[in-house]
């Protein structure tokens, strides 16, 4: 864009630099920001069944494609006969792994730093892996029947499931094609963190404890299964994608089949059915779409690929593994050293050090943590709401174990150790000041609110000390962490004022994963533009060429919020400039300005009306200002008959925001905002059943944009977290390597009956790096809450359980009953 007003761009750039610290330009008044905005942008669509997901897309002549999956945890196809499948009526194409048209090495997707899988492999490294063949047929049922007719001669290979055994010399190789000399994958990326001198730290301690944690895999369970639709329009590609990163999808597609120009790819991002990162992060997640595209090209028909519910159990979360933790501490609860090692199962990503949170939010002077990535014959573990599961699990167990060892209130231990990068609160408060923030003690504020709401002082007691009248043991647990939303990413967005009615449209493709960010963008745009909320709309599903930051890393608001705000501010300035300037010149001269002899700064916009600040009776609505669309263009009908009416230039602005935050190792930023969570349980010591009777969440989100959305992340995250803490695990048969519970009957997730009341409280310290001082909240609660169940159960029964999820059999085992 060639700006008529270069100073606007400069102003925006200045603002961008400023956001390295506190937001120095908040609005004087908020009309929509911070409010309970009940009318969700997507509300009516979703409640009335009109919201279309990729699974709902049906096109004329569309074929349905399903994949062969490996019945073995590690096996190679030696010979495959697809003759019978091809002859089944209704089958239109069978794509084989040895098809000469398929790439041997082509990058079908994902990040270049990770491995890229072939779209159809002939070797399976876990049971249930889509591979070998894909069948496209008139119906899904026919495709499924055809798959059963494929005859295969397999070479079964030795497999291994246990990460510690897999790390021993001579263990069977789980993935010899990638890791020929052992099952380790040490990429040296973020897998080791050291600060201070760990030996010195333990020497300074009054007491040292060591413990081992196991966390079985749990998975994303996206309600909508992995799927995608492909259609060729000549040499132009049209794709409906289930993936939370539209720009990655497009970037991948552009490399396929020798190259498809970006301007010939039409992407649709329908509603996504909650991805939580999961499927998006799987290397192969574009393999299905690639095969659909290849088959569509041959059959000249649109193709939809679908994985089954069981095939959606493709991989697990990034906390799956075995943890060895050693903690040194003084008798007053001050922690001096933590050393943690995790044997991490089949990590597709760079995982985070087990002590990275303790580095970011405590004063513990001596830390060492490392991740040993071990590949076993299970699906890959990927970031699922979220990568921080490992460090927050360690933080909870460390803090609460220390409190238990000393018989202290865990809240006291938390406050004693709060800090940052080994420094105490005085140092941290200095950093807050340096960044321009008003200094708050975020953890203290969160705890005070939460303690009062939860009635902590009356609820907390010595372990195994309170038996309830119903015979169950009562317990409470507490944990805390910082708020994280400080990844590296970028968002770009445009806003256009529509002709005829003056409404505003936000333009930028984005994944709707249910968190309601779209609402918040509209709130920001409405407040910044001075428009009514109902006049601002955002449809994230279509591709206008602008890409918002994906909802990863809780960065939707911190990256995109800035972009929307920049765009709205530039656009507002443009509108005011335009309203006070003559319209564009024509052969008959320029059009008169709407507000003659007025300067832009003398005008303002409120309630979708432009008005003169000193005389608000002089106003024009944006609708009138943006002009009607007439028969031959955006001028009034009168123009056709010789009369002259006003004409306004198109009102459009774009902006972007680049965030270089925490995940960028070159510019880590201190974390100032904290969160605290309280849980109450009742444990039936006869059955081992844990009843979660109450949860209270307190999150310092810096600044609330949409109160209802924030609360939704709190109670929703609590329910998912509780579900992960006591119910969710993927179980494999050790003898065959086959997954035993890949369905929603045998893999338990929380229902409405599993939840007691959840109290949701928000703190607004303004100490976030996002616009208005906000930080994201999307991942926090579901990531932190799973582990608070351990101290709560300890408080109830007086025994620590280190194996997650904490199921009834593990409770009974801890009690020595089985």
């Amino acid at each position: 864009m060639v700006s008529k007003h270069p100073e606007d761009q400069t102003a925006r750039m200045v603002e961008m630099f400023d956001n390295l610290g506190a937001d120095k330009y908040p609005l004087e008044q908020y009309k929509y920001i911070g409010q309970r905005i009940p009318r969700r942008v997507d509300g009516l669509d979703k409640a009335s069944g009109q919201a279309d997901y990729t699974m709902d897309i049906q096109l004329p002549g569309m074929l349905y494609m399903r994949f062969l999956v490996s019945p073995y945890p590690h096996a190679k196809i030696l010979k495959m006969d697809t003759g019978k499948a091809e002859k089944l009526p209704g089958v239109r194409h069978v794509l084989r792994y040895d098809d000469p048209g398929l790439p041997e090495t082509e990058n079908i997707g994902y990040f270049p730093i990770f491995q890229n899988d072939r779209p159809l492999d002939c070797i399976a490294h876990f049971e249930g892996q889509p591979m070998g063949a894909a069948v496209a047929a008139d119906t899904e049922a026919i495709a499924e029947e055809a798959l059963s007719l494929i005859e295969i001669e397999w070479e079964e290979r030795p497999f291994i499931l246990d990460p510690v055994a897999a790390s021993e010399p001579g263990a069977p190789l789980s993935y010899p094609e990638r890791y020929g000399d052992g099952n380790f994958w040490n990429r040296g990326v973020l897998d080791e963190l050291i600060h201070g001198d760990i030996k010195k730290g333990f020497a300074e301690a009054d007491k040292v404890v060591e413990f081992k944690i196991t966390r079985n895999g749990h998975t994303w369970i996206s309600p909508e299964r992995p799927c995608g639709v492909w259609k060729w329009n000549g040499d132009c590609a049209e794709a409906w994608v289930k993936n939370q990163r539209p720009f990655v999808a497009k970037r991948n597609i552009t490399t396929w089949f020798g190259g498809i120009p970006m301007n010939k790819i039409q992407l649709h991002m329908p509603y996504q059915g909650a991805t939580f990162g999961g499927w998006t992060h799987v290397d192969w997640s574009f393999g299905g779409l690639y095969c659909a595209a290849a088959v569509s090209r041959r059959t000249k028909r649109p193709v939809k690929y679908i994985l089954t519910r069981r095939e959606d159990f493709y991989g697990s979360s990034m906390d799956e593994g075995i943890y060895f933790v050693k903690v040194g501490f003084k008798n007053d609860g001050t922690i001096t050293a933590v050393d943690g090692t995790v044997y991490h199962v089949s990590a597709i990503h760079p995982a985070f050090s087990p002590v990275v949170h303790l580095h970011e939010n405590t004063r513990i002077p001596h830390l060492h943590g490392q991740i040993k990535s071990i590949w076993v014959n299970k699906g890959p573990s990927v970031g699922i709401r979220c990568e921080m599961l490992v460090p927050v699990l360690v933080q909870t167990m460390v803090m609460d174990r220390v409190a238990a060892e000393l018989g202290m209130d865990p809240i006291e231990v938390a406050l004693k150790n709060d800090g940052c990068q080994g420094h105490d609160m005085d140092w941290l408060n200095e950093q807050k000041k340096k960044c321009g923030f008003e200094v708050h003690d975020s953890l203290k504020e969160c705890i005070e609110k939460g303690k009062a709401e939860f009635k902590w002082d009356e609820s907390w007691h010595k372990p195994a000390a309170r038996k309830l009248p119903n015979g169950r043991m009562h317990g409470v647990g507490f944990t805390w962490a910082h708020e994280w939303s400080d990844s590296t990413g970028s968002g770009e967005v445009a806003i256009r004022i529509e002709r005829s009615d003056g409404t505003a449209t936000l333009l930028g493709i984005h994944c709707d994963n249910g968190v309601g960010a779209e609402n918040a963008y509209c709130q920001i745009a409405a407040d910044e533009l001075g428009m009514r909320m109902e006049d601002v709309h955002y449809n994230p599903h279509f591709d206008p060429g602008f890409h918002l930051n994906s909802p990863d890393s809780s960065c939707g608001m911190s990256a995109n919020g800035w972009a929307v705000r920049h765009a709205a501010r530039i656009l507002k300035q443009k509108i005011l400039e335009s309203a006070t300037s003559p319209g564009s010149p024509t052969q008959r001269g320029s059009y008169a300005p709407a507000f003659p002899n007025t300067k832009p700064e003398e005008l303002d916009i409120k309630n979708s009306r432009i008005f003169v600040k000193s005389d608000p009776s002089r106003w024009i609505s944006l609708a009138d200002y943006a002009r009607l669309m007439a028969i031959q263009g955006p001028v009034s009908n009168a123009e056709l008959f010789g009369a002259r009416s006003a004409w306004t230039e198109p009102l459009f602005a774009y902006a972007y925001h680049v965030q270089e935050g925490e995940y960028n190792p070159h510019s880590p930023r201190e974390k100032f905002c904290r969160q605290a969570h309280f849980m109450e349980v009742e444990v039936d010591t006869g059955t081992g059943e844990i009843y979660v009777t109450r949860i209270v969440n307190v999150n310092d989100v810096g600044k609330v944009i949409n109160r209802m959305s924030c609360e939704g992340q709190q109670y929703g995250g609590s329910i998912m977290g509780m579900s992960r803490g006591k119910l969710e695990e993927i179980v494999h048969d050790p003898v065959t390597g086959v997954m035993l519970n890949g369905n929603l009957i045998d893999y338990k997730i929380a229902t409405i009956k599993d939840v007691g009341p959840i109290g949701t409280m928000l703190v607004e310290s303004g100490m976030g790096y996002g616009p208005y001082g906000l930080v994201g909240i999307g991942e926090d609660i579901a990531t932190v809450v799973p582990h608070v169940i351990a101290p709560a159960v300890y408080n109830a029964i007086g025994v620590w359980i280190y194996d997650f999820p904490i199921t009834p059999d593990r409770v009974l085992k801890a009690l020595g009953k089985i």
Partner: protein
Amino acid sequence: MAEKSKKYVCPYCGEEFDAAEGLKGHVFKTHKGHGLPVSEGGIKLTVNKSEYTLKVKPNWTLYYLIHDVLGLTGSKQFCDRGACGSCAMIVDGKPVLSCMMLAAECDGKVIETVEGIAADGHPLIESYVINHAMQCGYCTPGFVVTSKALLDGNSDPTEEEIIEALAGNICRCGTYPQHIIAIKETAAKLRVEKSAGKGAK
């Protein structure tokens, strides 16, 4: 006349016979050992107040018929085995899991889907919207349908009754607390409407 023109049609191959004996002989001779015949059957059903006469295949579920064949895509398939409630529809006044019911079983039935509930202007929809009783929204239609069936039979459900009614609906985003609020609000609205003589839908 009617008796005279009656034909006996082979359910395997469609060949016609004038007498039952002829058909029996033909089946015995030609289709011995073929198992039960599989042929398309016609059904009549009412979906959201519209009547349909349809040929359905024996393996079609009610979900497939409504979602894929009729294109009413509001009902969603989540678990695919009767565990999650996302495909709930109201059949003859009762909520059923449409992935667990065969289309062929629905001859003569009256079906109500989320689209029908929305088209009737049921206040549940607005209550769901203003209470954020949704996040990703995939399971939401199933909750709306189950809630509507609850309210049809119980104009003032207690919290326990609501929880019991929704116990078979899974929401991965964890929106459960909002459903209780939305249903209670709707019930109150419907009771006011009823006492004002408008009548509940």
